[in-house]
Symmetry: C2
Subunit: 114 residues, 2 copies
DNA sequence: AGAAGGTAGCTTGCAATACAAAGTAGTGTA
DNA sequence: TACACTACTTTGTATTGCAAGCTACCTTCT
């Protein structure tokens, strides 16, 4: 039972929420998102992100537009749709419920300040 | 994109942590565990719990003993092994890290008091 | 004694998602 | 043109929760 695997499993299911939040703040393309996640110690790889972005787009939560980059290939910038913003609000509540439920179950004292 | 599905996905990966925590406090059998989880608004079904308990036992984190019940069939009570207790300590940290990372990413203000 | 009801444990097929790895494509520079 | 870098995409694999169905034990009722 690898701790690293447990981290991966715990990460499952919350990435959607994180990614929608990142995009909600400011339209972003994949590398932006990966770097923001990395900055928060959430290490995610392309093979995860791209299919996820596609799923969110196909579900109507995201839209995208192509934009020229300053010196490389064009980039696919994503924005939240109206539906996406609504959904994100639900996810805020859902996440909060989950944290509360887990902390109650584990009798966990959160050190989180925010 | 169903919100209910998102809840399920978010739940994945944290149940192991919750279950180990419940058992760490006091040895328990499956229905105990299900009821405790239900009490914390974590609805889990037998099809999830039994394979999970088996996996944890096979990984050396849990041990079990059969005990007579007061009026029904015998029960399988689980306890944490030494290894299980060590692992749970790691999970405490891991969970805390994840909550922090997600809250940072989502700019989430936790309403959790604990 | 047998049936019914309740409790307890178990398994399997399916769906969803993260990872690892490999590949394609556009732009700029040597 | 070839190479390096950036950006996007896809696929096979592994893991885990859910839904559904099943077996088995104990007690009570007929």
């Amino acid at each position: 039972m690898k701790l690293e695997n447990t981290k991966i499993q715990m990460r499952k299911g919350v990435l959607e929420y994180c990614i929608l939040s990142i995009i909600a703040r400011k339209e972003a393309y994949a590398s932006d998102i990966l770097n923001t996640l990395k900055g928060a110690q959430l290490l995610v790889v392309e093979g995860t992100l791209y299919p996820l972005l596609t799923r969110l787009k196909n579900s109507g939560l995201l839209s995208y537009s192509w934009q020229e980059s300053t010196g490389g290939p064009p980039r696919k910038y994503y924005q939240l749709t109206e539906l996406g913003e609504q959904f994100l609000k639900e996810l805020d509540l859902t996440w909060n419920d989950l944290v509360h439920a887990v902390n109650v179950t584990t009798n966990h004292k959160s050190n989180d300040h925010e």
